[in-house]
Symmetry: D2
Subunit: 98 residues, 4 copies
């Protein structure tokens, strides 16, 4: 899968992924959730999706905060896989957002 151009990425972010930022060679979003219990169950929902599509981000957690960084190593950039996954993550987050 081909890496998207900067303009294409900016277009997707403006359209559907307003809370994601383009940094370095990846897209990133910080999530804030009410408690650790909910943050970790949010992560579990996402982990089940990640393993299914075999696309694994760099992500981190600190109590009620979760940060997710998406890129496609094989394409050395951001591809449609990352855009699709970001949209799925945003859909899952709705359930957990404060």
């Amino acid at each position: 899968m081909k890496a998207l151009t900067k303009d294409e990425i900016a277009g997707y972010l403006a359209l559907n992924l307003k809370d994601w930022t383009f940094e370095g060679n990846a897209i990133k979003r910080d999530f804030k959730i009410e408690t650790f219990v909910e943050a970790f169950s949010f992560m579990t929902a996402i982990a089940l999706v990640l393993e299914k599509i075999d696309h694994h981000p760099d992500w981190s957690n600190s109590y009620n905060k979760v940060s997710i960084v998406l890129s496609t190593h094989s394409a050395k950039g951001i591809t449609h896989h990352d855009i699709d996954l970001a949209e799925k993550i945003d859909g899952t987050y709705k359930r957990y957002a404060q």
Copy 2:
């Protein structure tokens, strides 16, 4: 902790736990969720609570369905621990209910 009487249990169920039933020596509720991903993340949120309060139910899962059966072994019946836990589970379920 002392086991509650049948009347006390019926009172709690009528008051706050309308979706729970009293069966045998335990209280039970069946949950229906949209998908397995959400059912398992619901279970993860509950697992984190269970381990924290050191009170573990009999529970089962089949795709998008989760059944939880609560009782207190040491009291050979239902105690305030079970009532409190049932309320917490119902609170968590709100996030996942269809």
Copy 3:
């Protein structure tokens, strides 16, 4: 996928799945693990596999015990999917067995 015959199922169980039993229209195994923490992390490892292969069992947990019942609804019986999944579950269990 076609349901296996009773003889085929008995053959697989004798060969590779000695701790599974054939009951009703399904194969079943009970697992015992040291603590709830380990039992639930065993379940999480399995959940990630289940969602990936889109094959979901009936399973239950009570503290350090996990029971898993496998069958293929669409085939009204046991198929190679169940045999494969049972072998994967046994492989995962090695890490958690006491």
Copy 4:
């Protein structure tokens, strides 16, 4: 709980926590596991412990790698809570180490 001195921290790390490093105001260890499935089930086992003791680290995951950074915010440093948790994490890791 009082923050440990640098000498005390160095002592604990030398004694029992040889794979942890003291960086900035925290102790850190990088874990490598076979697959994402196992890395995330390792994280789930730890999450259950974290919530129970109400002590939450900064941690991150990338496929089969998990990094955990421990400190005690209220003490502005490292306390016995962190040392105890690091030992528990190492105990859990044994099950997942390659």
